[in-house]
Symmetry: C2
DNA sequence: TTTTTTAGTGTGTTCGAACACATTTTTTAC
DNA sequence: GTAAAAAATGTGTTCGAACACACTAAAAAA
C-alpha cells in the first residue's frame, strides 16, 4: 500500500505551514491480507454478493472499519470498460442563438474527459413546439442512454418524459430552468429571483431619481415563469429597503407592435429613468431608445449576445447579467460524467453565479 | 475496438440536430494487428525506444497516421502507479486573510482528482519576508516534487528560485501576479490593467458629477506593481473616452497615519464623489467614510473579505471586484494535475474573469 | 454409507499500457 | 563455415478491481 505522511515542521525564521492532502491507499489484496482471507472473499463482502460465512464477514468488516478503503477507480474503470452514453437535449440554437454557447460548454466537458469512455450526443428541439420536445425525447429513450441532461422548458411535458425515463431506469438531470417537482433529481442553473434582485441593486446604485420600468418581451412559449420570477425578485428588493424612492412599472411588450408600444409607454411615463429587461432581447429596447435619443435612461438586461454587447459599448445598455448558459451546460454534463466515472454524487441543485457584466469585463464571459 | 457512429436523422415534424461527440477507441493490440507486428514493437515505436527495423517502423507509422490513437489513460495510470507530488507555495493566510480562499481552492482541486495518485503539499511563507520565501523554497526543492505552484511575490527572488527548480528539473507554474520573464512557463491570474478599467467603468456609470480619488493603501512589501497597474488601467479608461468630466486624484495612504491623512485628503478635496481603492482594504476607507457620515461618496474596492461585504451591505461600499484567489489557486493546481495525468498542455497565461460584485450576487463568489 | 447439494473459499483471467525478458533473426568477426 | 555479437521481435508479467470458475468442506438426500 502507498503511504504518505503529514507533518508540521519548524524552521529558523518562520513556521512552515505544511498541509498534506494525501491519504493512505489500500487495495483489496491489502484488506484480504489484513483480514486473513482471500481477495475473492473481500470482493464478495464489498459487493454484498453473499456466500460469505459469518466469521469471514466479521473479519473483513472489522478491517474495513479500521481503514478507509477507496477503490482504485482507474482499475475499476479499466475492468468495467463500459462506454457511458449521455444524451443532451436543448432548444435549437437556430431558433434562438441564446443556446449556442451551450454547445461549446458540452464540447469543453467532452474534451476534459476525453480519455474516458464517454459517448455524448446532443439533440435539439424546437423551443416553440411541445410536440418536437416530446418526439425527440422518445427518440432518446429508444437509444436507451445511461443518462439524459435536458432543458425542461415545458412543465407538463417534462414530467411526462421524466416518468418514461424513470421507467427505463435512465437517469435524468436538468439545466436552465427549475421545474418544481420531486421527480427532478438534479438542476443546474441560476436563482432567477436573486437574479432580479441583482438587477434591482444595480439600478438602485446607479439611479439618483426617476422611476423604473420592468420590460417583458414576450415570445411564443418562452416560458413566462422566467420573467415572472425575475420581476418578483426585482420588486422584492425594493420592497425590502423601506421607503423606495422609485415607482416601478411593468411593461409587457410583444411583436410586431413592440416598437410602437414601447415608444407609447415611454411617452406616457416620462419619469422613467431606468429599465430592466427580463429577457435577452435588451438590444431591441436599446435600438428604440437610441432612435428616440434618450440617453438619460439606464438599461439593465440579460445575456452577452453580440447585439447586446454592441449596445453596451455604445453606452445605451449599462449592465448585462450573464445567465451563464455555457457553464450551465458544462456543469450539467460534467456532473453526469463524474457520477459515472468517479461515483460522485450529483448535486440536486447547483446555482451558478449571477455575473454582472459591463464593457470592461465582458470578454472574460464570452470567451 | 469500440466504435460509435455519427448520424443525422430526419423526423416527421422537425429536423433532429444530432451531434455525436464519440470517437473510435483503438488499443495497442489493435495497432499491432493492423500493422502485422507484435504489441511490443508498437510499444517501442510509440515510445521511440529504438530496436525497431525500418520495415516495422513504417508499417506501424502508417497505421498510426490512419487512425487517431488515444492511449487509455486509466490503463497507463494504473500501470505506472506513480504518485505525482505537487508543492504549492503561497503567503501565509495568517499574515493576510486574502490568501485563505486559496486553500479551499486547492482542496477542491484535490477532491476532484481524489481517485488519482496525487500528493499535494501546501506551504506558506511570510509575505513580508523575502528570506522566508527563499527558505521555504529550498525546503521544497529538497523534497524534489514533480511540480511547484507558487505565488511569485518577489521578483528577484522568484527568478532565483525558478533557476534552481529548473536545474532540478522541477516544473514551476505561478499564480496571483505575473512576473515578466521568459523563465515563467505558466501564469494564472487577472489582467490588473483591465481590472482598473472595470473599476473605472463602474464609477463612470454611477457618478453623475464630482471628482474621483484613487486610494492606494500601502503595506510593507505588498508589491506596488499591483496597485500601479490598476491605477494605470483606471486612468487609461478615462483618457480613452474623450473629454472625461472627472478630475482624478491619487491618494497614497499608509498606516498608522492612515485615518488622519484620509480625512485631511477628503477635506482638501470636497469635490470627491467616487473612490477607487486598489487593495483589499476598502473596509478601512469605508470605516472612515461612515464615521464622517459622507454618504454621497461612491466606493469601489477589491475582494470579498467579510469586512468589505459588511460595509457593502451597509451601503457604504458600492461594488467589490473579485480577484478570485480561490479560483486562481484551483486552476493553477488543476492545470498541473491534468498535465501529469492527462498529458494536457499547461496554458502559459490564463486570465480569470474580473467579477463585479454587489450585495445581491456576493454569496455566489464567496461560497 | 455413498451420493448429491450447497455454502464457503480461493484461484485465475480480463481490461490496456508499460516494460522486462526470452526468443528469433540478422550481422559481424574469425 | 561457424561462433559470437548485435539487432529485432515477440511473450509474459504487472498494476487493482471484477467476476467466472474451480475447488473444499460440510450438510442434505439417497
Amino acid at each position: 500500500m502507498n503511504c504518505m505522511f503529514s507533518s508540521t515542521t519548524f524552521y529558523l525564521y518562520s513556521i512552515i505551514h505544511y498541509i498534506c492532502h494525501m491519504k493512505t491507499k489500500y487495495t483489496i489484496k491489502d484488506i484480504a491480507n489484513l483480514a486473513g482471507v482471500s481477495k475473492g472473499t473481500v470482493d464478495r463482502v464489498l459487493h454484498k454478493r453473499g456466500k460469505v460465512s459469518q466469521d469471514a464477514l466479521e473479519k473483513v468488516n472489522k478491517i474495513l472499519e479500521e481503514i478507509d478503503y477507496q477503490p482504485n477507480l482507474m482499475a475499476r474503470s479499466l475492468k468495467n470498460n463500459k462506454i457511458f452514453s449521455i444524451c443532451i437535449l436543448l432548444p435549437d440554437p437556430n431558433s434562438d442563438p441564446y443556446w449556442l454557447p451551450c454547445i461549446e460548454g458540452i464540447q469543453n466537458a467532452k474534451a476534459e474527459f476525453m480519455p474516458f469512455n464517454i459517448s455524448l450526443e446532443t439533440f435539439f428541439f424546437n423551443p416553440e413546439s411541445t410536440k418536437s420536445f416530446l418526439e425527440i425525447n422518445s427518440i432518446i429513450i429508444k437509444k436507451s442512454p445511461d443518462a439524459v441532461l435536458l432543458v425542461p422548458l415545458f412543465f407538463k411535458e417534462t414530467l411526462n418524459v421524466i416518468e418514461k425515463y424513470n421507467a427505463s431506469k435512465i437517469l435524468v438531470t436538468t439545466f436552465n430552468n427549475q421545474i418544481q417537482s420531486k421527480s427532478i433529481k438534479s438542476f443546474v442553473g441560476q436563482d432567477l429571483i436573486q437574479s432580479g434582485r441583482v438587477a434591482a441593486k444595480l439600478l438602485d446604485t446607479i439611479l439618483k431619481k426617476g422611476d423604473i420600468a420592468i420590460v417583458h418581451i414576450n415570445e411564443v412559449f418562452k416560458n413566462a415563469i422566467h420573467m415572472q420570477e425575475k420581476e418578483k425578485g426585482f420588486r422584492n428588493y425594493f420592497e425590502e429597503i423601506n421607503g423606495s424612492k422609485y415607482k416601478i412599472f411593468t411593461c409587457k411588450l410583444k411583436h410586431p407592435s413592440f416598437k410602437k408600444d414601447l415608444i407609447d409607454f415611454l411617452e406616457n411615463h416620462p419619469s422613467i429613468s431606468g429599465i430592466f429587461i427580463t429577457t435577452s432581447k435588451a438590444y431591441q429596447v436599446a435600438e428604440v431608445i437610441e432612435q428616440i435619443d434618450n440617453s438619460k435612461i439606464t438599461i439593465v438586461g440579460y445575456d452577452l449576445l453580440d447585439k447586446n454587447i454592441k449596445y453596451m459599448k455604445k453606452g445605451i445598455i449599462d449592465f448585462l447579467i450573464n445567465q451563464n448558459q455555457k457553464r450551465q451546460a458544462y456543469l450539467g454534463t460534467i456532473g453526469l460524467i463524474e457520477h459515472f466515472i468517479f461515483n460522485k454524487d450529483i448535486s440536486n441543485k447547483l446555482l451558478l453565479p449571477i455575473d454582472i457584466v459591463n464593457t470592461e469585463n465582458a470578454k472574460y464571459y464570452t470567451a
